[in-house]
């Protein structure tokens, strides 16, 4: 198969050796879980249980509000103790359920839809929607929305994303090794829903074992298992579509504009569980890694488990603490509060020791142009950064500020150690705020 080239990209050490060989362990069910009402892009869910109610694992406790939203389910059996503000992954307080666990039993499926493929395609989407599934690669976009493109956007390409290009993370890698047939069934379901002509499962070349396992599992199917070159951000949606189909999602557009739907392997697995067993999204696999943690692990964790529980389970800090990150080192979010719970989009917990965390004093841009070379969107991050620095938001917007995917490649490569992504995010916020203001007038 001919692979196409997206611009730019970087080659950081992938650091996956810390956890790639470790089978997924089930983390013990915590005494309390904290489930935010908003674990997804879109409107926060609306609670449907009251304080004091007893809930069973898998019960719906909050209902999606509107189309772009997602249900929330109890990840443990227990009693709702509170619905209150609680620290979230973005460093803010947001409403969350506090559920005290009374029983650590796993979810018991009530259904076995062996005949799912004989159902009309559109009838499968409500199962996914009901299960509260969102993009588990980190973007947390409600999956049922992605699977319901408007009539005028026919989908001919289904891409399953097993690239996992973020350094350190191995959750998707382990999932493919340990549950290939479940993933395959999920792909078949997705194919049934979308009726796409082409189906690809893309895996980065640094996971030859996963490629082999998936190839063997999918031998008698029309699914193309594609080994894509190791280059960050190969797993970014637009870059992956370009690599496989040579189509470019237009600026400001969505994958459906070029006839493609991309689903992460973790999401695909959750879709399979939802359709086959009626299992809602109440747990996920994540990688606890970095040279700061005593025992790195791949864990299956109930949603709502606080970071502190997971750190204890893995032996805590091995060295002087540096950074505690939810997600990978390129796009993950720095944490300062270990009460923060695992949510639907938590793909990993990364602990960097103090001596791996540099203290940088940004210099003036020396115009070396490395950020321009590595930008996977063909932007000029040096100018975007400088425009942001001097509040020249109109100029920044003219230089396609809003097309930035915040992958961090420019900031990684910058020898002057300029916080380019941070400056770009600031400018993006300002531009959007001003547009909203202008629209109101």
């Amino acid at each position: 198969m001919i692979l196409h080239h997206f611009p730019g990209g970087i080659h950081p050490n992938d650091e996956k050796g810390l956890t790639a060989h470790l089978p997924v362990e089930n983390a013990p069910v915590p005494e309390r879980v904290f489930l935010p009402l908003s674990q997804h892009i879109g409107a926060p869910a609306e609670p449907v249980v009251k304080i004091g109610d007893t809930v069973k694992v898998g019960d719906k406790i909050a209902e999606a509000r509107g189309f772009v939203s997602a249900n929330i389910h109890a990840s443990v059996t227990g009693v709702v103790r509170a619905i209150r503000d609680y620290p979230n992954v973005f460093g803010r307080l947001a409403p969350a359920f506090e559920i005290e666990t009374t029983d650590d039993a796993p979810f018991h499926p009530k259904k076995n839809r062996e005949d799912a493929l004989s159902l009309p395609p559109q009838t499968l989407i409500p199962f996914i929607r009901e299960a509260g599934i969102v993009g588990m690669g980190g973007a947390t976009f409600p999956t049922h929305v992605k699977l319901s493109p408007p009539e005028d956007k026919p989908i001919d390409t289904l891409i399953i994303n097993g690239v996992e290009c973020e350094p350190y993370l191995t959750a998707d890698h382990r999932l493919m090794l340990e549950h290939p047939s479940e993933i395959l069934e999920g792909i078949v379901f997705l194919h049934h829903i979308l009726g796409a002509r082409f189906t690809y499962l893309a895996i980065e070349a640094n996971k030859p074992d996963a490629i082999k396992v998936m190839e063997e599992t999918a031998r008698d199917t029309k699914i193309n298992i594609v080994s894509v070159p190791k280059r960050y951000p190969q797993g970014a949606e637009k870059q992956l579509i370009k690599t496989l189909t040579n189509r470019e999602v237009p600026t400001g557009g969505l994958p459906m504009d070029v006839g493609a739907v991309v689903q992460n392997v973790g999401t695909t697995f959750a879709i399979r569980e939802a359709i086959r067993w009626g299992k809602p999204l109440i747990e996920r696999i994540l990688t606890v890694t970095g040279r700061g943690i005593k025992t790195p692990k791949n864990l299956r964790v109930r949603l709502g488990t606080p970071l502190s529980e997971i750190l204890n389970l893995c032996g805590g800090w091995k060295t002087t603490p540096g950074k505690l990150i939810m997600g990978g080192p390129m796009m993950g979010i720095n944490q300062f509060d270990t009460r923060v719970p695992v949510t639907k989009g938590t793909s990993g917990i990364l602990l960097l020791p103090r001596d791996e965390v540099g203290e940088y004093h940004p210099h003036t841009c020396i115009r070396c142009g490395r950020c321009v070379t590595v930008c996977p969107m063909g932007l000029l991050p040096n100018f975007l950064g400088s425009f942001a620095e001097f509040d020249r938001f109109d100029d920044a917007a003219r230089y396609h500020l809003l097309d930035c995917i915040e992958c961090g490649s420019c900031t990684y490569i910058c020898p002057a150690k300029r916080p380019l992504v941070q400056m770009i995010r600031y400018a993006k916020g300002e531009v959007l705020r001003r547009r909203k203001k202008a629209a109101k007038k």
């Binding site: 470019e248 999602v249 003036t364 115009r367 321009v372 969107m377 396609h400 990684y412 020898p415």
Partner: protein, 330 residues
């Protein structure tokens, strides 16, 4: 305190490359040229380089102190400027000329604009061109490398570089002689007259190869620069070999290689886009050729690069790359 978590925006890992590591590698890449310069012109060349470094660092520190900025002489950029300035001087220059050059390079060429990253022109070339225009006699008084075949014709030459010799010969005699008093291999190895750092093409190429391998400099600018110069001077040579010098001399002698690999590639003063770099390199080549073939000076690399430096902001604006997913406006 030390157990507190560090907080910052993503990404949380960064490449080990910093401004000092870049500058250090540029200095390293200039070592072969420095070595050939000192070997050919003796200890005097070493003193010139050393004086340039010391005075440049002093001017940088003093001007930063005066302007209330933090002193950044350790970032290595002033050191690169100093070495490039020294390598662009004839080995005969008096010491005070070096100091004046350093002053103009650092204070006028760099710090006045706001320091590293803000200067529109290559500082070393600003220094050199000020000296060339203000002290033409001292700046064109060439010495000859020790033990060379070239030395036997010294007394008949008024300008000692191959380019200067050719220009003078054509002006006085109307044509070039059938046999030239120098040979291509001499220009390649460093046995012709010239500035301290420009005489050996081989030494410069070794350094350049290192920088391209380390991705410190883009290969596009030197290729476009040298290629354009070769093609234009070559076209004139083919049309009239009696009047114009073989293009190989244009490439190997004079400041072309030093300029193309080490000064046109100065990241602060050249475009950041690929197309911009291509135009920049071609522009340098065209200007260099025009000055060399038709100008009053035998050499035009410095002027060409400085003129193209001035176009950099425009080139960056005009050659913005196509954004991923950008649809052409109909």
């Amino acid at each position: 305190m030390k157990d507190l978590l560090v907080l910052s925006s993503s990404p949380h890992i960064k490449s080990p490359e910093t401004i000092p590591t870049i500058m250090f590698q540029v200095c390293l890449a200039l070592l072969p040229a420095i070595f050939v310069g000192v070997y050919s012109f003796g200890v005097r060349a070493a003193w010139i380089i050393l004086l340039a470094v010391v005075s440049t660092l002093a001017f940088e520190a003093a001007s930063q102190k005066l302007m209330g900025r933090s002193i950044s002489i350790r970032d290595g950029s002033a050191c690169v400027t100093a070495i490039l300035l020294a390598l662009n001087l004839p080995p005969t220059v008096p010491w005070w000329l070096v100091v004046i050059g350093a002053f103009f390079a650092i204070v006028i060429g760099k710090q006045i604009y706001g320091g590293l990253g803000h200067n529109p022109f290559n500082p070393a070339l600003v220094g050199r061109v000020v000296l060339l225009i203000s002290f033409p006699a001292q700046m064109t008084l060439w010495a000859f490398p020790s033990h060379t075949i070239f030395a036997r014709v010294t007394d008949t030459l008024s300008g000692a570089t191959p380019l200067g010799w050719a220009k003078t010969h054509v002006m006085t005699h109307g044509t070039l002689p059938d046999t030239l008093p120098f040979h291509i291999s001499q220009a390649f190895l460093g046995q012709t007259g010239g500035c301290i750092g420009e005489i050996s093409a081989l030494a410069l190429l070794i350094g350049a190869a290192f920088l391209i391998w380390r991705k410190i400099i883009p290969w596009l600018i030197p290729l476009a620069f040298i290629g354009t110069t070769f093609l234009i001077t070559g076209a004139f040579w083919v049309a009239n070999p009696q009047h114009y010098l073989n293009p190989v001399y244009h490439v190997l002698s004079g400041g072309l290689l030093l300029g193309a690999f080490f000064m046109a590639t100065d990241m602060v003063t050249n475009p950041v886009t690929t197309l911009g770099m291509l135009i920049f390199g071609i522009g340098c080549g065209v200007l260099t050729s025009v000055i060399r073939l038709f100008g009053g000076y035998p050499e035009g690399v410095s002027f060409a690069i400085l003129l193209m430096n001035a176009t950099t902001p425009l080139l960056d604006r005009w050659t913005r790359p196509r954004v991923f997913g950008e649809v052409k406006k109909k």
